[in-house]
């Protein structure tokens, strides 16, 4: 029996839901509305109220019906006759929207001064909800902005909810806050304060703190409490947002650092060689990404948005090939002379940088920003979760996972670890150490190329760009210890976060100075880095 009852209730609810729009549509007495528009000042006021209601909550058909009416009244393009009214501009009957001419002696309703303002407002409200073009809606919003106190509560929220244009939507929301704060009804203002405090931002803080000068702040204790409460909540929100934003920027910087340093760390651990050309390999990775973009523009413009993804294998292969060539031609002869290999790799760095400068010029490259690295999601306060930084972070995480898998789970990785731990013993048991060196150098260089790809949506790309990352990347290697992935990750996170943390306080230069001093101090305690393999000091 209970079940039957429930079914009946649900069915009833469904019926009510389905019937609701129809009921509302029937609720709008179109003929009555037109009659009121043609009536005296009082009737016209009632009509305005009906139209306002339509702008806020009526259904789409009714709103479309209402859109031309307020404008027609203002412009005196409404001809009232015995049968109702005609919109003279289009020559349509106001009620049925069938073409007809006004009969008899038509009368044009005249707006009183008070009603004129109301109708301007109503017209804008209707246009904001129902105009097809974004520009028209923006113009309507401008009109509404002039008298925020007259905007009916709820209109802007409804408009914001249905607004497809993101920029206009943000404007509408801002105006909604301003309007609610200046409303006449104190309860509405307090509600508005609570709503604003839900979305803390610096703009909201200025808006709310301006209210302490409002007469109501001194007069009404409730209002004062609400303002103070909102200020405190917004302040907290901003603080949380700032912390999150700093952490997020630090994380993205750390991702780039990690990508730049992981190749260095592998090579350094394996061969004791620091590759001063790593920065230029990063730069070449970015240039290859750009070339892929330019190539797609010519060959397959429809795929242009996906150039960042398509460039991944190409950037890796090109830079890895350069690395392998470098190892085979130059570094192979220098393993016993690591200091000379510093000079040799610097020569390569100089050569590559100037080659790129001669071929491509010194200007910054222009990159398309595909949709998946555009914009972001505002989270709290001024913290925006931007997709371009997320791209770098996700890229670094995937690279970390793949590199880790490669080093820990494949025969090649086993060889790399064996040679890193004891080159002579590895050679004795038949590991081709020279080939492992070459392939590992290729891997490290390829990772640098991927770093270049990952940072191209965030940083500017030019022949000198490698220099900006390389010294930080060296510091990551020094801090992390020789040839450990975990050390590189922790050191990159640490240096990235500390840099970003200090920067807003004392500036970027102070951040670099402090990071360097901290590393030098740290080396006093652990000269071999964070995650050095325990053993005899070499």
């Amino acid at each position: 029996m209970n079940l039957t009852r429930l079914t009946v209730v649900v069915a009833g609810l469904l019926a009510a839901l389905l019937a609701a729009p129809t009921a509302r549509a029937q609720g709008l007495d179109r003929a009555g509305l037109i009659a009121n528009l043609c009536g005296n000042a009082g009737a016209m006021g009632e009509a305005a109220a009906v139209l306002t209601g339509l702008a806020m909550s009526g259904d789409a058909a009714d709103r479309a019906f209402a859109v031309p009416l307020a404008r027609a009244v203002i412009d005196r393009k409404l001809a009232c006759d015995d049968a109702g009214a005609v919109l003279t501009e289009s020559g349509l009957d106001a009620v049925t929207r069938a073409p007809r001419a006004a009969a008899g002696e038509p009368r044009t309703p005249v707006l009183s001064l008070k009603n004129r303002a109301t109708y301007e407002q109503v017209d804008a409200a209707l246009a904001l909800r129902a105009a097809p073009e974004a520009a028209q809606r923006a113009a309507a919003l401008k009109t509404l902005e002039r008298r925020p106190a007259l905007i009916p509560e709820g209109l802007l929220d409804a408009a914001a909810a249905s607004e497809p244009d993101a920029g206009l939507k943000a404007d509408i929301e801002t105006l909604a806050q301003t309007a609610a704060l200046t409303a006449a009804d104190p309860a509405a203002r307090i509600r508005a304060l609570a709503r604003i405090a839900d979305n803390p931002s610096r703009r909201a803080l200025t808006q709310v703190s301006a209210l302490t000068a409002d007469p109501a702040y001194a007069a009404s204790p409730e209002f004062r409490a609400a303002v103070d409460e909102a200020t405190a909540r917004i302040g907290r929100g901003i603080a949380v947002g700032d912390v999150l934003a700093t952490a997020y920027n630090g994380l993205s910087f750390a991702s780039i650092l990690f990508m730049a340093a992981i190749g260095l760390a592998i090579i350094f651990g394996l061969m004791g060689v620091i590759n001063l050309a790593q920065g230029e390999l990063i730069m070449i990775g970015a240039y290859v990404t750009w070339l892929v973009q330019q190539g797609l523009r010519v060959v397959a413009p429809s795929l242009l948005d996906w150039y960042l993804v398509l460039a991944i294998p190409i950037a890796f292969v090109v830079t890895a090939a350069i690395g392998i060539a470098l190892e085979a031609s130059l570094l192979r002869h220098l393993y016993k002379r690591p200091l000379m290999s510093l000079l040799a790799t610097w020569a390569v760095s100089l050569f590559l940088m100037n080659l790129v400068r001669v071929v491509f010029g010194t200007q910054n490259l222009q990159f398309e920003t595909p949709f998946y690295v555009t914009g972001g999601v505002p989270v709290i306060g001024d913290f925006i979760f931007t997709w371009n930084r997320m791209f770098a972070i996700a890229f670094a995480v995937v690279t970390l996972a793949l590199t880790w898998g490669l080093v820990r789970r494949t025969p090649f990785g086993l060889n790399i670890r064996a040679v890193t731990q004891n080159r002579d013993m590895a050679a004795c048991i038949g590991i081709p150490t020279r080939r492992v060196d070459m392939m590992a150098f290729g891997l490290g260089s390829g990772l640098a190329g991927l770093a270049g790809l990952a940072l191209s949506p965030i940083y500017s790309v030019n022949p000198q760009m490698g220099q900006n990352f390389i010294i930080d990347a060296f510091m990551v290697v020094v801090l992390g210890g020789v040839g450990t992935i975990a050390g590189t990750v922790v050191a990159a996170l640490g240096i990235g976060q500390i840099n970003v943390l200090i920067e807003p306080l004392w500036g970027a230069v102070a951040a670099k100075v402090i990071v360097l001093l901290m590393i030098i101090a740290f080396l006093q305690w652990r000269p071999e880095g964070l995650f050095a393999v325990k053993g005899r000091r070499k």
């Binding site: 620091i274 690591p338 510093l342 610097w346 100037n354 230069v509 100075v513 080396l523 070499k538």
Partner: protein
């Protein structure tokens, strides 16, 4: 070579010192006559001499101690900046010229730490003290924790890079990114005259000769033998009871002081100092001069610095854009074919044997 691996033939270095002194005397003697060098040439010789002093400073620790510094530009710049401070303050005292950077920042007077820089002895003392302090502190913390090899090289590089970023700031009171320029008076004499240019060049040559003689004496002494021993096998030396920390620290500070001296000679001759002197590239270039000339040979360092910079001077007029390519080509050539730089040419009998047998290729470079 004797059993310490020291070069026992004395001839080349004595010849070189004699040549330098002779050149200095000739320049001084001919000044004002029709045989005098052109201003440009005299100035170039003076600058080259300053670079040669800088190369010797690096060779002292890299060639004889096996420690590569990629941040020697820091000490060069220290000398340069403190000399420039003296020159500006001195010029201001005498002619009342207000330095550009003060006007640029809108400051009415020199910051307090410029006090006293109008006296050269004070500026010199400040340079010596500050250089010793910085190099001593950095050397102590690095050598104490036995940071060496590639680690040391890249940390020194980071040091000079950070110093460059610091000096690029305009609010430090050291000229910011425009640096310091507009020196008008030196020791009461107007600058930019032929006489002053010649005098500076002669002074640089004499300092070069002095530094060369002093370092030659040092590396031939018992102390020099310990330096080579540290380079070749530090662990063994420590096992035998020698304290290498103090030794390394002394040579490191001495090297920094020589680099500072080079900077003090350099700045009045080019008439400007700016943060680009602190760029990691310049510090790497110093290592390249030494590598090309031949590590572990004072003569080699001088010749390397003179050759590379002479080519650079010449190319900066003829074809500035190909200089990086030539430099990188030279480095690769030296690194792959002539590990001891020009000293390797001796074995092809292209130049007179300079007493150097080819040193072991892996001289003094243990894997980190």
């Amino acid at each position: 070579m004797n059993r310490f691996g020291r070069i026992t033939h004395t001839a080349p270095i004595v010849h070189l010192i004699a040549l330098i002194v002779l050149a200095a005397l000739l320049m001084a003697g001919l000044a004002g006559t029709e045989f005098a060098l052109s201003r440009y040439l005299a100035n170039a010789i003076g600058q080259l001499a300053a670079f040669a002093v800088l190369a010797i400073s690096l060779d002292l620790i890299w060639g004889y101690l096996g420690i590569l510094s990629l941040g020697h530009g820091l000490f060069f710049a220290l000398g340069g900046y403190l000399m420039a401070m003296y020159l500006l303050k001195h010029s201001f005292e005498i002619t009342g010229t207000v330095p550009d950077f003060l006007q640029f920042m809108g400051w009415k007077e020199f910051p307090f730490y410029w006090d006293g820089f109008e006296f050269f002895p004070y500026a010199l003392a400040a340079a010596v003290v500050i250089t010793t302090l910085i190099s001593g502190l950095f050397g102590y913390v690095s050598f104490r924790s036995r940071v060496g090899g590639v680690y040391f090289a890249i940390i020194t590089q980071a040091l000079v890079y950070v110093a460059m970023l610091l000096m690029f700031r305009n609010d430090t009171g050291f000229g910011g990114n425009n640096g310091m320029t507009g020196f008008t008076v030196l020791f009461g004499w107007p600058m930019g005259t032929s006489g002053m240019i010649t005098a500076l060049a002669v002074a640089s040559l004499l300092v070069l000769a002095g530094v060369l003689a002093g370092c030659n004496w040092l590396v031939r002494s018992r102390f020099g033998a310990l330096m080579l021993a540290t380079r070749d096998d530090e662990t063994r030396l420590r096992t035998m009871g020698y304290e290498t920390l103090r030794l390394k620290l002394i040579v490191w500070c001495l090297s920094a002081l020589i680099a500072m001296l080079a900077g003090m000679l350099y700045v009045p001759q080019v008439g400007i100092i700016n943060p680009r002197v602190l760029s990691p590239e310049l510090s790497l270039e110093i290592a390249v001069w030494v590598a090309i000339g031949g590590r572990g040979h004072l003569v080699g360092a001088v010749i390397g610095a003179l050759l590379v910079n002479a080519v650079k001077f010449w190319l900066s007029f003829a074809a500035p854009e190909i200089w990086p390519f030539i430099l990188s080509g030279l480095i690769v050539l030296v690194v792959l074919v002539f590990p001891n730089g020009l000293m390797d040419l001796a074995k092809f009998k292209l130049v007179r044997p300079m007493g150097a047998k080819r040193l072991a290729a892996d001289m003094g470079e243990a894997r980190p």
